[in-house]
Amino acid sequence: MKEETLNIKPMEAKNFRQFDLKKKFRFSEFIIQGSLFITGILSIFVTVMIVYELGKEALLFFTNPDVTLVKFLGTTKWQPGIGQYGIWALVSATLVTSAIAMLISLPLGLASAIYLSEYASERARSILKPVLEILAGIPTVVYGYFALLFVTPILKSIFGDELQVYNMLSAGLVMGIMILPVISSMSEDALHAVPRPLREGAFAMGATKLETSLQVVLPAALSGIGAAVIIGISRAVGETMIVAVASGAGPNFSFNPLEAAETMTGHIARISGGDLSYNSIDYTSLFAIALMLFLVTLVLNLISQWVVNKFREQYE
């Protein structure tokens, strides 16, 4: 009886297609999905190319019999053309300018973030926020102009002749202003994400707004702020145009911010701007520097992501 009913075909028209719930293979869908996958995987390809191309030339540099690790890390003069390979001459300037930039941008950025997130009224925010956004949108070469032709003359009137025309101080200060919006906007997002009940709890205990902000909200947002600081450092290390314009041409192992010195990025920009013959030691040395920059910023970015994920306070 049961078999009979199953054998009855309700519609026996020849062109009726048996309804099939299995996912059908469609060729065009397959092609489209395939090409979308390729665009997605392309970003991996870019990273691989960066590592491969930079690594290839950097390897040529490091396998040069004249370049030894002792010379590279142990000396302080950089001029590959005449056999001086002391990377510290460039690293020192990067360290000094980045340190000055962070000294400026960290307190200012954090303070603005706290003000915008905790204190500012809706109206004040709508005026103050765009200022930071404009600062973030200004091309860095314009900051370079500003550093060389505005900040340096002002510093000159303060420090007098001790200050060289090109100097790390002015480049670092302006770089700090450039990074300020980065730190402030990332920190503000972190502060904003702290749930309201935490603040209300603090207020109910009789805490002032400042005590709430600094002792309750700030610690809760610390992971996001830490990530912001690390991103800020990575931006400072990789920044090129400000230092290329304002901090001087020519490697100089010095930690005196009043002196001129060339950073890793500034050096790449200056040397590659000229006519450079491929396969020369000057050419391959640039790739060694670029690879170092890439690895340093990569590690910083990874740490910042790790910090966010690891130390995020989970609410709810």
Binding site: Q33, T47, E57, L132, P139, V142, I177, E211, Q305
Partner: protein
Amino acid sequence: MSNQQTDYPEGASFYSALRTRYRIAFIWQSLFLSALLIAIVALTALIYNVVDGAFGFIAYEYKKAPTQFTSTPINDLTQEELLVILKENLSSGAYNKLNDEQPMEERSQADLLNLFLERLVRIDTKGTWSMTDSLFRGDEIRAEVAEKYPDAILEFRSWLTPQFLVAPMSSRAEFAGVRTAILGSLWLVGIAILFALPVGTGAAVYLQEYAPKNWLTRVIQTNINNLAGVPSIVYGMLGLALFVRVLEPLTSGSMFGVTDSNGRTILAAGLTMGILVLPVMIINAQEAIKAVPDSLRQAAFGVGATRWQTVWHHVLPNALPGILTGSILALSRALGETAPLIVVGASTFISIDPDGPFSKFTALPIQIYQWTTRAQSEFHAIAAGAIIVLLVLLLTLNATAILLRNRFQRRW
């Protein structure tokens, strides 16, 4: 209980402690606010500095008096008169070279007048002053110039003129313009967007709509976030190694029969820019696609649409304003980038317009960089002029993005 709380102030001392706490709170609040004020002051100073540099007094002398060439006053010279003067006084070689760049008869009166001043009269700039100086110390400057250069003419000049926008590059600041630089920038940004918009949108669609939740997807996502943080100069080095050297047959155009160039072309630089903005583009497009509600997709699947039909007919049209806004913002980043262009090999001096993807190039930020690093103050003045042009371009782009967002943004 009460034993544990004895060290908290009570009564009058409580209120005085409270007052102290409020005072400290007020001081800190002022400090927080002053950080923002410092940012505002810095922005104001920057804009003032640029505007200040772009206008001001200039003192110059004529190496040869204009009266040697003509009796009519300079500003009344017509196009025909100028043509005759130039033809008579320029060497035939120089005249033919200029004629090759652009036929002399087709040039405007302003253009010819500039040639006349640049080549024959030969202006010799003695000094320039900033706008503030010119406005407030005008008399001092006049006295100084009269004493040092008795023959010099002092006039208030705006370095940002319509002529500045359309004049090609020149080795003399007084006649230089940003025409080739603007055209170069447009070419670069155009190529970058042609590459990055489809690829970026494709990658975003893949990651949001297709990608399974597995390790590969996580690697791609992390990788994109990291690429967004790589310094732009590293992309420049990648462009130099990959596009300028390895792919030279493609980027120099020798594959297509172009013979007179090496790999340092608009195409190489444009592709470098495209790769540079790609991560930003993907992240923005992902945000836009994320904002499209799931109910739309489920409805499409419910009536039997395939995944691609759902994406093409429902997700993408709704995400389009967001994707476009994001790409305009990415575009404005490309417009201001300088470092990778220097590395890839922007030319320092070009006076002819770029005529295709295989020509040599310069760009607006490159010109600003070069003029800023020159020692003479008149080059700083035109650098300031070029910065204003660049900032106005960026402002227009961003305003467009904001308008687009406000016009088409939908709340679900």
